[in-house]
Each structure stands twice: as C-alpha cells, then as structure tokens.
C-alpha cells in the first residue's frame, strides 16, 4: 500500500466520520465543529490532488469563513449560557431512503465507467491556470458574481436595519 492510498483511506474515514458527526450529534455546536473538521478534510483531498490553491481557498473560505459565520448565527440566535441548543433529526426514514438512493445512483454510474488509476501529470501550475482563466475567459461571470454578492450584501444590510 503506497502512502497515497493510505492517505486516501485516512481522509475518507475522516470525511465520512465527520460528516456523520454533523448530522448525528444532538448538540448544535458539536455539529458545527464536526462540519469544520469535514471542511478541513476536503482541503486535504484537494491537497492530495496537487491542487494546493484550492486547498488553501477551501480552508480560508470554508473552515475559516463559513464556519465562523455559522457559529455567529448560532450564538446570536441562542440564549447565552445555560440551555444548550439541541437539534433532533425528524423523518429519519425518508432521509435515510434519499441518502441510500443517492448512494445507489452514484455507485451505479461509477461502476459503469473505467476510471484511470494513474494520475495525469499537471501540465503547468494550477494556481496560474485558475488565475488566467478567471481573469480572461471567465471575466464576465466572475464580475457578475461579484455584483450579485454586492446586491445580496446591500439587501441584507437593508433588511437588518432597524426601523426609523
């Protein structure tokens, strides 16, 4: 077993375990921590695929950013200390059924194609490729996304504004 295979299995166990932790924990705050672990594990997957830039962005935006915002949301909606916010899983059966169905579809489609086992070498620096692509070919969608985010930011601050 090579180091790469071992790393893959460790990462998969970590990812599946922490993802299960997110949904199975009763404590909302513990769920968020499992989510942070799962998102960091995803960065590990990117790292194994030689996509360091994506791994860095994954940690910066998801593990550092999104988790922080989720924590913030929990804190401002929950009463401070004392009662612990718990979340229960209702409709476990339907949820399990949907998950099993999805797993079946994935396994089915994956078993039909033959995936290459050896990795295709990178032709050049992926960071540079991403930068060039975003700034030349995909500049319009990129800018539109920026405008969209700005609009949602403005809308959020308008909605959150106290009544005069």
């Amino acid at each position: 077993m090579t180091l790469e295979v071992a790393g893959f299995w460790v990462l998969s166990l970590l990812l599946v375990g922490s993802a299960l932790g997110v949904v199975l924990t009763k404590n909302l705050f513990h769920s968020v921590l499992w989510l942070a672990l799962a998102l960091t594990g995803t960065a590990g997957v990117f790292l194994m695929l030689d996509a360091e830039f994506l791994a860095g962005v994954q940690i910066l935006l998801y593990a550092g950013g999104v988790v922080t915002v989720v924590v913030f949301a929990i804190v401002v909606t929950e009463r401070l200390v004392g009662t612990r916010l718990a979340h229960t899983s209702r409709r476990v059966l339907i949820g399990g059924g949907v998950a099993a169905l999805f797993l079946g579809i994935m396994l089915n489609s994956l078993s039909r194609i033959v995936l290459p086992t050896s990795r295709v070498p990178m032709e050049s620096d992926p960071t540079r490729l991403i930068g060039t692509a975003v700034m030349t070919r995909f500049i319009l969608p990129f800018e539109l996304l920026a405008v969209l985010l700005l609009v949602s930011l403005l809308a959020a601050s308008y909605l959150a504004r106290p009544e005069e």
């Binding site: 921590l33 960091t40 830039f53 940690i59 550092g64 922080t68 913030f72 960071t127």
Partner: protein
C-alpha cells in the same frame, strides 16, 4: 555517508523549526514585558537571573506545576481540545516562512495563501475555548472575537495582497527576493499606505490593544481563557504570542525586504529576525500607547475606513503594475 531520505530531513527541519519558534516565543514575552516596563518607567522582570533573563523559564515551570482545573459544567471534551486546536494553526504558520534563501520547511507556491488560511483557523479553537467554558464572560469574549475576525480578516488579506501584486507571485521566497533592490515599504505611496493598513489590520487580527475588546480585563476578566489554568493556559498563551510573532515575520517579509540587508549573505536570517522583532516592537508600542476603543468604533474603522481604503490600494497597485508593464519594483 549516504544522504538522508527527504522525509527524514523534512522531519528534522520541522522539529528544529518548532523548537526554535517555541523558544523564540517564550523569550518574546520577556522582550514585551521589558519594553512595556521601560515605557512605564519601571524595571520589569529583574530577579530571576541577570536582568530577569530566566524569567520566561520560571514562568513556564510555574505554569506546568499549577493545578489543572476543569469547571464542572464545562463541555469537558471540547474544553480540553480547544487549546490544541488553537495552538496548532498558530505554529503551522511558521512552516512556509523562508528564513533565508532556501532555508525554510516548506516553500509552497501558495505560501501566503497558506499563511492566511491557516491563521484564519485560529478562531475555531478560540471559539471552542470560549463556548465550552460555559461561562458568560468567556462566551461574550468569544463572540466579540468572531465579530472582530469577520471585520478584520478582509483588510488584512487585502493589505497582504499588495506585495503579492507587486511581485506577481504567491510564493513567499519570491516576494522576499523581489525586494532585494527596493523594499516594498519604499514603494512610492502604495508601499507606505499598504504597510500602515497591514499594521492596523494585524493588530486587530491579533486582538491586541487598542482592539482587545475580547479580553478587556476590566470587563471580561481574561476573556475566552478565563477558565483555563496551568498547562492549558500556557498553550493558549503560547499560541497567541506565536501568532503575533508569525505575523511580525510576515510583515517583515512582505514590506521590509525579509533577509535583505548590508553585510555578507549569512547575515540574512539575522536581518530577518531583527526586522521581525522590530515589527513585534511596533505592535507592542501601539499596545502600550493607546487605550482600548469601543466595539462600535472598531467596526466603524474596519468597514467604513480600512476595508474601502485597502480595496482602493489593491486596485491602485494593480493599475500601477499594469501601467509599468510588469510586476517588480
């Protein structure tokens, strides 16, 4: 003698760096205490060893021998895990810093992104500590920390982007060697303003005075670490100082030319260390000169002043680079 395999060399380099950083961080606390004492016309630590030179070691021993207390109502597992989760990112940021040409543990091609990403993970550990203590003061402190991180991560990122744009590379050693001619702080207008923004944003990102609302002793006792004692407290303290020192190294690398300086080449790391300590002393100087500002003032400064200013700076830098036709000084 056969050369050692890469993994072994990497492991040795990692351990050596870790020990150096921990030692350095321990002694940086003494530097800060002495510096603060001088600013307040005091002597500072003096009794342990010559001019208090052994004080940090005495402190470390004291903290190790203290009783480890876990509050009964605390979330025990998270409470115990939090100092480690807090410390690891603070030490990891040193991994990409090249201390001299070719002298670093991992000179990644996304170096600065790694630094920023890993240091943004620190907040997870901090919040775990504040939340699991089950203490109102600790939780308020952690909330304020989240608040502040959301506000100051962006200006910090944008300020750090200015040298990246001037160099045209995310690799830290490239940024450092691009300044062999002219340090980025000497770059007309952009360099000075960028440095200023970087210093303000890093003081805020490190939660130090005047942006220390999350530990404001007079309101929140000791903030998120109020329930920690003994070795766990030492770990949190170590992480905090390691973060400050790491950011000082980053500032010295981004704006002050890293290892560039007069003298032979082997003096490079010495210059780098001197510049990083200079950055550290600037932050300490700010800490002991200003009073704490209010939460709303902190948010105003971030969103209404620092964020637009750094954005304009980044745009201006991009225009300058395009106008001159190529990155570089």
């Amino acid at each position: 003698m056969t050369p050692l395999p890469d993994a072994v060399v990497g492991a040795i380099a990692g351990v050596a760096l870790l020990l150096t950083v921990v030692g350095l961080v321990t002694y940086v606390t003494l530097l800060e205490r002495k510096f603060a004492a001088r600013m307040q016309s005091r002597v500072g630590p003096y009794r342990v060893g010559w001019h208090g030179i052994l004080q940090p070691i005495a402190d470390a021993v004291k903290l190790m021998m203290k009783e480890d207390i876990v509050p009964r109502e605390a979330d025990r597992r998270i409470f115990n895990l939090a100092p480690v989760v807090f410390l690891v990112p603070c030490l990891l940021i040193f991994a990409t810093i090249p201390f001299a040409p070719g002298l670093g543990v991992a000179d990644l091609n996304i170096g600065i992104l790694f630094f920023l990403a890993v240091s943004s993970m620190e907040i997870v550990g901090l919040f775990m500590a504040g939340w699991s203590s089950n203490n109102k003061y600790a939780l308020i402190s952690a909330m304020r920390a989240v608040n502040q991180i959301i506000s100051y991560d962006l200006p910090f990122l944008l300020a750090a982007l200015i040298p990246v744009l001037l160099t045209g590379s995310l690799r830290l050693s490239d940024i450092a060697s691009a300044q062999s001619g002219l340090w980025f702080i000497a770059y007309p207008v952009l360099g000075q303003l960028g440095f200023l923004a970087f210093v303000i944003a890093s003081v805020a990102a490190e939660n130090r005075v005047p942006f220390d609302i999350l530990e404001a002793e007079s309101e929140l006792v000791a903030g998120f670490r109020v329930e920690y004692s003994g070795m766990k407290f030492a770990l949190i303290q170590l992480g905090e100082y390691a973060h400050v020192l790491g950011t000082s190294f980053l500032g010295a690398l981004l704006f002050l030319g890293a290892w560039a300086g007069p003298g032979p080449e082997w003096l490079g790391p010495v210059w780098f260390l001197a510049k990083a300590l200079f950055m550290f002393l600037v932050i300490t100087w700010i800490r002991w000169s200003f009073v704490r500002i209010r939460v709303d003032q902190i948010l105003q400064i971030s969103w209404k002043l620092l964020l637009p200013l750094t954005m304009l700076l980044v745009m201006a830098t991009a225009i300058a680079v395009v106008w001159r036709g190529a990155p570089g000084v």
